[in-house]
Amino acid sequence: MPAGYDELTPGYEFPPVEYRLTAEVVAAYVEAVGATKHDHVPPLAVAAHAIGVLAELVEFPAGTIHASQEFQFTALVPVDTQVTCRAKVHRKLARGPMRMLTLDMEISDESEVLVQHGRSTVILPES
């Protein structure tokens, strides 16, 4: 059951989510973004899927848009790696009709090696 904006508080930790970056998943991503093929997973593909799975944990209303993003890449991710994304709420801000949510995420591989971490801020439409 996805969490609604009102239920989230700074420090709230989402349950960890795991996903496997198979050759098919990576090929679909590379084709969609028109990227050069590599022997490993493009770091933004790792992040894109993390945000995709996060979107299933938060009830983002239709029309939510991305405001800012930070990433730090720390290790190569071979194709077919299973990664785990841990995310928590960094900040919530409501000013008049505008609502913002900032999430921190850490992604690690099967050996618990951190492969990247990031911070995403989204703007939610008026409810």
């Binding site: 991503y29 969609a32 493009p42 770091p43 991305h66 993003q69």
Partner: protein, 139 residues
Amino acid sequence: MSSPFYEGLVLPDLVRQVSQENINKYAEASGDYNPIHINQEFAASTPLGGTIAHGMLVLAYISEMFSNTFGEHWDTTGNLSIRFRSPARPKDTLTVSSKVESVSEDDDIVCITCALSCHNQDDEVVVSGEARVRIPECR
């Protein structure tokens, strides 16, 4: 000279055409089906007035530009900090540009900081920000 990178160096631009087809493919590849990206009728009813590309699709172009320049060093040490300034829309032509702002050395590692921007065919800034990467010193 221990690094081919120096302050003021302009990195090669990367140009990409945005299409609704690319956006739809990205939605399928990433699992992000927010209707603001893929549903024309819904998007037209919002203040944005039409569908827009996923921010992460635009970031993929930016990351590719740095990957083209710095290779695996980007994928293992890259640091990206950006703000989305205006939406990228279908039929936009996006140009990702970057210039080296500073180069510093720390032991055998060269730390490079670049200003970056992505703008559309009307010269509107879509994304602005900064990228940092660490590469081994050339000897």
